[in-house]
């Protein structure tokens, strides 16, 4: 009922708007503004409640209760936190570069929020705009976030902040490389750069690209975590070493802007990972039971919920890793980026290209039929899917083998083998300083 009550007004608002404005104004100005407003509001609300969720999840992992005091089960805690941050003093260090110090948080937030414009939250009206180079737009704009980190660290005039900024620039730049390369495999199957087009490709193929591209998915998620500076890659803000890293000197609402940027960047990365590898808003049978029977808006809303659920699963993975794993060291982080993830993503590109080539070559060979059509992505027949999945999972072993060949001489290669046991020694007992019989002659011990 609630969903139906929510659905009816959409057409109603549309017809109402059309009475006042021309159709083009409504479609290209007013509706986008409504969508942008909805997305920004929901994302900001999500950021607030993601902190609550993270605190709760971490609390349950750590045998605690988490926030319980403000509201029922502490549900109003994010609001209390937000109010506290609003009224806190906006402190600026004496020798800070004021203007850069002021603008850095805004750059971070804008870079993180603008990307939401192209994320396909669902079909039809649930996407703000469908850019035909959507994935490039995401990569380009989200990498602007590095700038905010560097500027914040530099302008603070603090050594901890500077070290944090240096680390983050190195980290984000090196992980962006493997992140960008890891998606190429999926693009070969999707045959488009548009994010909605990728979902469409997976929908018409009725399969998630995760099965074609398991390596690509793993690389993308790992680099995504590193790109967002989340544990175990949270070196720029490693609180036990660098106090708070690049935002050490920030306080109050400016600090919370960095916080919002971090959480909305997490949403963006998980949303792109979902779109690319987990089928986006596509879920089996949803189309058949809604759109095919004429419930268009229901179809959009259910797809929206599916998409958010998939994002939620990936975000839970983020939280889970953060509260479980220790932190990498700076040089180890670089090792993983350049010696493991980068070669793995290059191997993935080569193998994906070979898969696509093999599928094309096999199509029509001795009456085999592998490719259905290439209109909406690479649509494969059942035998084509089997071949692609076989290559995809075979690629796991191939990549593992090649990476071992590359890295077998490095110190961190086989740490578990290097693990040692300690000896347990039963030392001989010396002359007691105190005799526990209680009746001993202690006088000999006296000077």
């Amino acid at each position: 009922m609630a969903i139906l009550a929510f659905l009816a007004p959409i057409n109603f608002i549309d017809s109402l708007l059309l009475k006042f404005f021309s159709e083009q104004t409504v479609n290209y100005v007013i509706w986008p503004f409504i969508q942008i407003g909805a997305v920004v509001t929901i994302t900001a609300g999500w950021v607030a409640y993601a902190t609550y969720l993270e605190r709760k999840i971490s609390a349950f992992m750590q045998a605690r209760l988490g926030p319980m005091r403000v509201g029922p089960w502490g549900l109003l805690q994010p609001i209390a936190d937000g109010l506290k941050l609003l009224v806190k003093e906006d402190f600026i260090p004496e020798n800070a570069d004021r203007w850069i110090f002021f603008t850095a948080p805004y750059i971070a937030v804008v870079a993180a929020f603008v990307v939401m414009a192209v994320v396909p939250f669902g079909p039809d009206w649930a996407v703000i705009t469908d850019v035909n180079i959507g994935i490039l737009f995401v990569l380009a704009v989200s990498s602007v976030g590095v700038l905010a980190t560097i500027l914040a660290g530099w302008s603070s005039n603090s050594k901890y902040a500077l070290l944090g900024a240096l680390r983050s620039s190195a980290q984000m730049v090196s992980y962006e490389v493997s992140m960008g390369l890891s998606i190429i495999g999926a693009l070969m199957f999707a045959r488009t750069l548009s994010l909605s087009g990728m979902v469409g490709a997976q929908q018409s193929d009725a399969i998630w690209f995760l099965f074609y591209q398991p390596i690509g998915f793993v690389i993308f998620v790992i680099s995504g975590i590193a790109e967002n500076n989340r544990a175990p890659f949270d070196l720029p803000e490693a609180e036990s070493e660098l106090v708070a890293g690049f935002h050490t000197e920030y306080s109050g609402f400016r600090w919370s802007l960095f916080f919002m940027a971090e959480y909305s960047a997490m949403v963006v990365v998980t949303a792109v990972a979902t779109t690319l590898y987990l089928g986006g808003w596509y879920f089996p049978f949803v189309f058949r039971f809604t759109e095919a029977r004429g419930f268009h808006n229901l179809y959009v809303v259910v797809s929206l919920i599916v998409f958010l659920a998939k994002i939620g699963l990936l975000l839970y993975l983020y939280f889970w890793l953060r509260w479980t794993l220790p932190r990498f060291r700076y040089d180890q982080l670089m090792d993983i980026g350049w010696k493991w993830l980068l070669p793995a993503s290059l191997i993935n590109i080569v193998v994906s290209a070979i898969v696509v080539f093999v599928l094309q070559a096999l199509d029509g060979w001795h009456g085999m039929h592998t490719i259905d059509s290439i209109a909406r992505g690479l649509n494969l027949t059942a035998s084509g899917k089997a071949i692609a999945i076989f290559f995809g999972f075979g690629n796991l072993f191939l990549t593992a083998g090649i990476l071992s060949l590359i890295n077998w001489r490095s110190r961190d290669f086989n740490l578990k083998k290097q693990r040692r046991k300690i000896r347990l020694v039963d030392l001989p007992k010396g002359r007691p300083a105190v005799v526990p019989t209680g009746s001993a002659d202690v006088s000999e011990a006296r000077p």
Binding site: S240, R322, R329, I422, L424, L427, V434, G438, S439, A445
Partner: protein
Amino acid sequence: MHQVEIATTQQSVLDAPEMTLNMGPQHPSTHGVLRVVLKLDGETVIDLDCDIGYLHRGMEKIAENRMYPMIAPYWDRLDYIAAVSNGLVWVETVEQMMGLDVPRRAHYLRTILTELNRIASHLLWLGTHALDIGAITILLWAFREREEILKIFERQFGARLTCHAWRIGGMPNDAYDDFESDVRRFIGNIGSRLDEYETVLSENRIWLSRTVGIGVISGEDAVAIGLSGPALRGSGVAWDIRKSRPYAAYADMDFEVPLGENGDTYDRYLVRMEEMRQSRRIVQQAIDNLPDGPVNAKVPKLIKPPVGDYYHSIEGPKGEIGCYLVSDGTQQPWRVRVRPPCFMNLQALKRLCIGHLVADVVAIIGTLDIVLGEIDR
């Protein structure tokens, strides 16, 4: 001429000088108010200097103006994580100078409670060490177990942290009614809990890469610097005062001493984990064989040790904590000197850290298990 000037300016811009980084005294990972002045080349530590004394309270001087029983509470504030062990070294020193006949039951209770304190101290070390390296959850888990020990302390001594556990000649009072069942329940749980912590850390790739080969010190160097306790045994030196010069009831106990091989952070981690298991074993034996009887010796009204000096040391959680006491035959000591394990262990910091990265400095401070209250006294 102009060209040359540009060249020199560029040179001065590109010539990166070493950076001095003040770590502490307000820093989340220096375990209190330690200030470490790091000289960094990029992130590599090329020189390091420790600045201590932010928590100096003049304990040894205060002790010269107090009567013997009044000094014991000050000793709790040395290493406030291990107040029970600190208190023991003071009362045993005085008892031995005076030749007091401490009852057997008191010795056993002292053994149980100091071993529980050792577990509590090592749990706190485990939590903070893991927190320094970035594993946050372990801290809360370790505190959950430590809480059980602190509850026992609270019921027994009336305080959780600075217990003022002992009196010269025995104990202030006998064990409380449920003491035995409480201790048995705790040692029943702690074994599986320790296994749980080890599954999270010991084979964790990140943990291994952060600790194996970090802060290596050879056995000879460790002896030369004066390390003691787990930091020394991690380098493979077999030295444990509970074995070499048993005090309390350790002469009756059957336990083994864990020794590392390479003297790196990982070895020290394993040694401490195993020490907790051995402590559990000792507590088990002591609680099984807990004798009956009084818990106090006959102590004279005025405590006046004979003229002379005496040194006694015990194996505290951090290492050898000793007390050198010079008496002039009055009610107040003439001079008291503490042999602080953390102070000695901290000396190794420079040798362990140079050549490592900033992140390793934090790990190494954690592995030395320092408490500033004892270093600064």
